[in-house]
């Protein structure tokens, strides 16, 4: 990165581009850069989709856009790049999301910043609009959710609002595409400068602030007599705005002028060596000493005056007295879904329903895929390979190892995910998830954890790696770590097949035949609930020991319920969740297949490597009620839990020396019926306790490698990745050991 601190570089677009790369924007060719800002849950992502035609996933819970999305579109022959910033209430509280948004508006210097505003809560949203207007004047306000506002009896005098704010205001219903052409037109006009804006700015501050601004402006003017927005710079310095400070320190103050894009010379305020400019140091010194003179309520009064103005402007442009819909559906639903009597039962019911639909719906397509990939294609491929004379070991490694493992993962994982993720997205769209967090919050508080951990926990039922990424909505580092480490206790999709099969064989069989299915299903839901309990226990333990601390401030917005759009949800959640998760799983499963084939076919002495490893692991496995086969299967299945069962079956056949089952060493298979599988497992020495322990161990063990990699990437710390690995593993070993030994003691 070259620093351009010293000389202004005339007209170099490249420098802005490099600072944008620093801000995480993919380089590319575009004519205008447009940023999309707004409060959480104002339909920002929907506006993004409406503008770009991209199908970014949208959801009805605050803080959904945790990864910044970007897209592009054409507008009057100009290429526009659109950046979706994280939703924030303000640019000042200093959470990671807010910093991303603020830095982008300040240093990415978008040609236009579109602020999406929820028309139903104009006053609250204007707070952010006013803060953005303090930084840039190239703003278009998108007044979204106009339909909801009308339903709530809120009307807005758009022309008056636009006059007050001094920037274009466009009413939209982005979900239906209403107002989008007008929004595009306004973006174009502001980008090209066809419309000049005169943004509203707060002029008066409390006396002590005004005094401090006054003296600081004099100091700044001594060195930069021509700086147009010295007042703004002074206020930011009194607020300890780090980016402004670093620009001042580097002597780049000129670049922070109000309309940098209109100047001939474009330079970028890249962070350069501190202490580069003695003038800057003097200004900073003065600012720091002034900060001691300010009342501690300095920040309070700034926020107060923002909200005061927001209230005045909103009040002036609201049209009241419109007809409201009589029945307040939101209130009714909230009272029901969070009530003392029905809150928790409804939650369990919905959880069980989602599981049931996923499991029963996935059965048939899973079978079809398995028949296609494993029963039909695999023999055909093997036959073909043999016919053209490929050496058997390559054939084994590639087809029996890599291909089969991948085929297993796809056929076992794709159908449940393609059902679970859309269901989850529907709940998300509807707005139920924040209510889950609301209901469970007291428990999370007792465990010393963050209330939004409930959201990431729910996500984890689909895929733990996705759940770990979702923890970005938690802004306290301690609580985020707890959420990351304990996400693995949400029983993910990849582990359900194991649970269901084992529950059917060992637990369902205990009940009379016509109850067997129900008993087995309850056992699986029981394990999932046990996982939630384990998550609370682990969170509590962590916040009492290595991550000591009390739960911090937490507020949860409960957005209005919105009717989910079923078709679009199906489409987007399959595209951006299911396929991405599946692709990652395949990437990790393919090498695992090779390893499985190799350990079963590489011989040391007279036994395969697998046999040796099983013999080594067996004593420990038996001690905790499992066996060497299961442990080995879990070691090689670290990349993807889906292949545990086929690997277990293959290894069992290998150790029993049953030649007639399966298709050879290192070839994974599954039997057609649960009872046949049960017979095989019992022949391998399995009992009811083995079954129960396997279910427990499948819940309580190390995360899969995809999740581990995600944890490492999110925390950037090998230490916490190790904790996330060893904690559930230790819990799993201990729980299985205790169950087994107590069972033996009582039996």
């Amino acid at each position: 990165m070259t620093s351009t601190a010293a000389a202004p570089c005339v007209g170099c677009h490249a420098n802005r581009a490099s600072s944008l790369v620093q801000l995480g924007v993919r380089p590319g060719r575009w004519d205008y850069l447009v940023a999309l800002a707004g409060n959480p849950n104002t339909g920002k992502s929907t506006v993004f989709n409406a503008l770009t035609g991209l199908r970014q996933h949208t959801g009805n819970w605050p803080g959904k856009t945790v990864v910044r999305a970007e897209g592009g579109f054409e507008l009057h022959d100009a290429r526009v790049k659109l950046i979706d910033l994280p939703g924030t209430y303000s640019l000042q509280a200093g959470s990671a999301d807010e910093e991303v948004a603020r830095d982008f508006i300040l240093f990415g210097r978008p040609d236009v910043t579109v602020v999406v505003v929820d028309a139903t809560r104009l006053e609250r949203n204007l707070n952010l609009v006013l803060q953005i207007l303090e930084i840039t004047d190239r703003v278009v306000v998108c007044l979204n959710l106009m339909d909801e506002a009308r339903r709530h009896g809120v009307g807005i005098d758009v022309a008056k609002l636009a006059k007050e704010l001094g920037v274009p205001v466009i009413p939209t219903v982005a979900r239906q595409g209403n107002g989008v052409p007008e929004l595009l037109e306004a973006i174009h006009e502001v980008a090209t400068g066809a419309v000049t804006t005169a943004p509203f700015r707060i002029e008066r501050h409390p006396a002590d602030v005004e005094a401090a601004i006054g003296t600081l402006v004099r100091t700044i003017r001594e060195s930069y007599p021509e700086l147009p927005n010295a007042r703004w710079v002074a206020l930011r310095l009194l607020n300890a705005d780090e980016r402004v400070e670093s620009a001042v320190r580097a002597g780049d103050l000129g670049d922070l002028s109000e309309r940098p894009w209109l100047e001939a010379g474009e330079t970028v305020a890249v962070e350069s060596d501190p202490g580069a400019s003695p003038v800057g140091e003097r200004i900073l010194d003065h600012a720091t000493s002034l900060r001691w003179t300010l009342s501690p309520r300095f920040h309070d009064s700034l926020t107060e005056s923002m909200y005061g103005e927001a209230q005045r402007i909103a009040g002036g442009s609201m049209v009241r007295g419109l007809k409201r819909t009589k029945f307040d559906m939101d209130r009714f639903l909230d009272r029901l879904l969070t009530s003392k009597r029905f809150g928790f039962p409804m939650m369990l019911l919905i959880l069980a329903l989602v599981f049931w639909v996923t499991i029963s719906g996935a059965n048939v397509p899973s079978q079809l895929l398995a028949t296609l990939f494993i029963d039909t294609l695999h023999p055909a491929l093997t036959g073909f390979a043999a016919a053209i004379g490929i050496p058997p070991w390559i054939n084994g490694l590639v087809l029996d190892g890599v291909y089969l493992a991948t085929a297993w993962v796809v056929s076992v994982m794709l159908p449940p995910m393609a059902i679970f993720f859309p269901l989850f997205s529907l709940l998300e769209d509807f707005g139920y998830l924040p209510r889950v967090a609301f209901n469970l919050d007291t428990l999370f508080k007792k465990a010393g954890a963050h209330g939004k951990q409930a959201l990431t926990m729910c996500m984890g039922f689909g895929c733990n790696a996705a759940g770990v990424v979702a923890t970005r909505v938690i802004d306290s580092p301690r609580e985020r770590l707890i959420a990351i480490i304990t996400n693995n206790f949400s029983l993910c999709n990849g582990r359900w097949p194991t649970q269901i099969l084992i529950a059917t064989i060992f637990i369902g069989a205990l009940a009379p035949a016509h109850f067997a299915g129900l008993v087995a299903a309850s056992a699986v839901v029981g394990i999932a609930v046990l996982g939630i309990v384990a998550m609370f226990v682990a969170s509590w333990l962590l916040s009492r020991t290595v991550l000591r601390g009390e739960a911090t401030t937490f507020s949860l917005e409960l957005p209005p319920y919105r009717p989910p759009r079923i078709l679009q949800t199906l489409y987007t959640s399959i595209i951006d969740r299911t396929l991405i998760v599946l692709w990652r799983a395949v990437l990790f499963a393919a090498p695992a297949g090779a390893v499985i084939w190799l350990v079963s076919n590489v011989y040391i002495g007279d036994a395969s490597l697998a046999k040796h490893l099983i013999d080594v692991l067996d004593p420990f496995g038996l001690l905790i009620g499992l066996n060497g086969v299961i442990l080995l299967a879990y070691v090689v299945a670290i990349p993807a839990n889906e292949i545990v069962i086929p690997t277990v079956l293959m290894l069992t056949v290998l150790t029993l020396g049953l030649g007639d089952l399966g298709s050879g060493a290192g070839v994974m298979f599954e039997l057609n019926s649960a009872s046949a599988t049960g017979d095989l497992l019992r022949a391998g020495g399995w009992t009811l306790v083995t079954g129960i322990n396997l279910m427990l161990f499948s819940l309580l063990h190390n995360p899969c490698s995809t999740t581990l990699y995600t944890i490492y990437r999110e925390t950037g710390s090998a230490k916490w990745t190790a904790v996330a690995t060893l904690l559930p593993l230790g819990m799993g070993f201990s729980v299985c050991f205790l169950v087994t030994q107590v069972w033996l003691l009582l039996a």
């Binding site: 209430y89 303000s90 000042q92 509280a93 200093g94 959470s95 809560r121 104009l122 006053e123 609250r124 707070n127 607020n239 300890a240 780090e242 010194d285 720091t288 001691w292 501690p296 920040h299 309070d300 926020t303 107060e304 909200y307 005061g308 209130r331 909230d334 009272r335 969070t338 009530s339 003392k340 809150g343 609301f438 209901n439 919050d441 007291t442 508080k445 010393g448 209330g451 580092p477 301690r478 020991t545 290595v546 000591r548 601390g549 009390e550 739960a551 911090t552 401030t553 507020s555 949860l556 917005e557 409960l558 001690l623 201990s734 050991f737 205790l738 087994t740 030994q741 107590v742 003691l745």
Partner: protein
Amino acid sequence: MVSPAVALLIFGAAALLLAGVFWPRQGLVARLMRLAALTERVRLEDAVKHLHDCDYRGQPASVESVAGALEVTRARAVGFVARLEALGLVRTSAERVVLTSVGRAEALRLLRSHRLWERYLADRTGLGPAEWHDEAERLEHRLSPTKVEALASSMGHPVYDPHGDPIPTAAGKLPPRAGFAVTALRPGQAASIVHLEDEPRAVFEQLVAAGLAPGMQVQLLDASAERVRLLADGRVHALEPVIATNITVAPTEGLPEPAGPFETLADLETGDRVVVRDIAPVCQGPQRRRLLDLGLVPGTEVAVEFRGPLGEPIAYRIRGAVIALRREQAELVRIERDGASVEAAT
């Protein structure tokens, strides 16, 4: 195969042993690491800090006071002071030990690190107030100057630590000491708390438990040799004079008269509609900003919508949005039932 009873016993014993060795803070490993951390450098740094503290308060420092502060024998303290003198950090004259300018810069660097850590622990970690100081004492010796600056910038360059003490700037500037002990007030006189002394810990814990915090308004009701009675937020606190001297106050000018006791958002019933008065001074840093950003500024109307199935959290309608707060946060927002007076004031 071992018998299950034996296996369980061995497991229990192993679990206890592991816990004893690795338990955070009280475990063997933690104790050994603490001991190892108390190197000579740390001792010397603590001595420098003590000398600066005396200087800042205008009290004389001596070898005896160094020995007292570090909890070592006089002989060892003499050794430390000699070492500091050799390093050019202090000068000794007669009984006095005085910091040189190099020593003062070093002391301010340590103080900056210490107070930044306290700010960090208070704002970002959720550690209780009583633990800030001890933890910061440990952490202050660990960071290089660049890391300290990174810490400061990650928090937006705070000016005060959570006890109300100014944080020295990176250039080593510190404003002169302001304020005086609360006991110096005349009966009936009001002032605002600017600092709560965090040492000794037991005293600080008592002050925190009483609900006192920097930024709060106090009024001295009466003071005698046995007892000092203070009125803070409408509640009367009776403290021993020796404890009350740990409260530093500054005169209130232009601030409203002390009032209270206050009702808070946590005291309301479902369906109540009230107006925000302010956010309690005890709530600082990002947590305060977050509440403000939710729109909980003076004069805001708030209605209680519904409660969670376990009685908590409570959902409030604030400026058009339904927002759930935990009891602890709701208690920080002070309200007025009769909105008229506040609205007139703002």
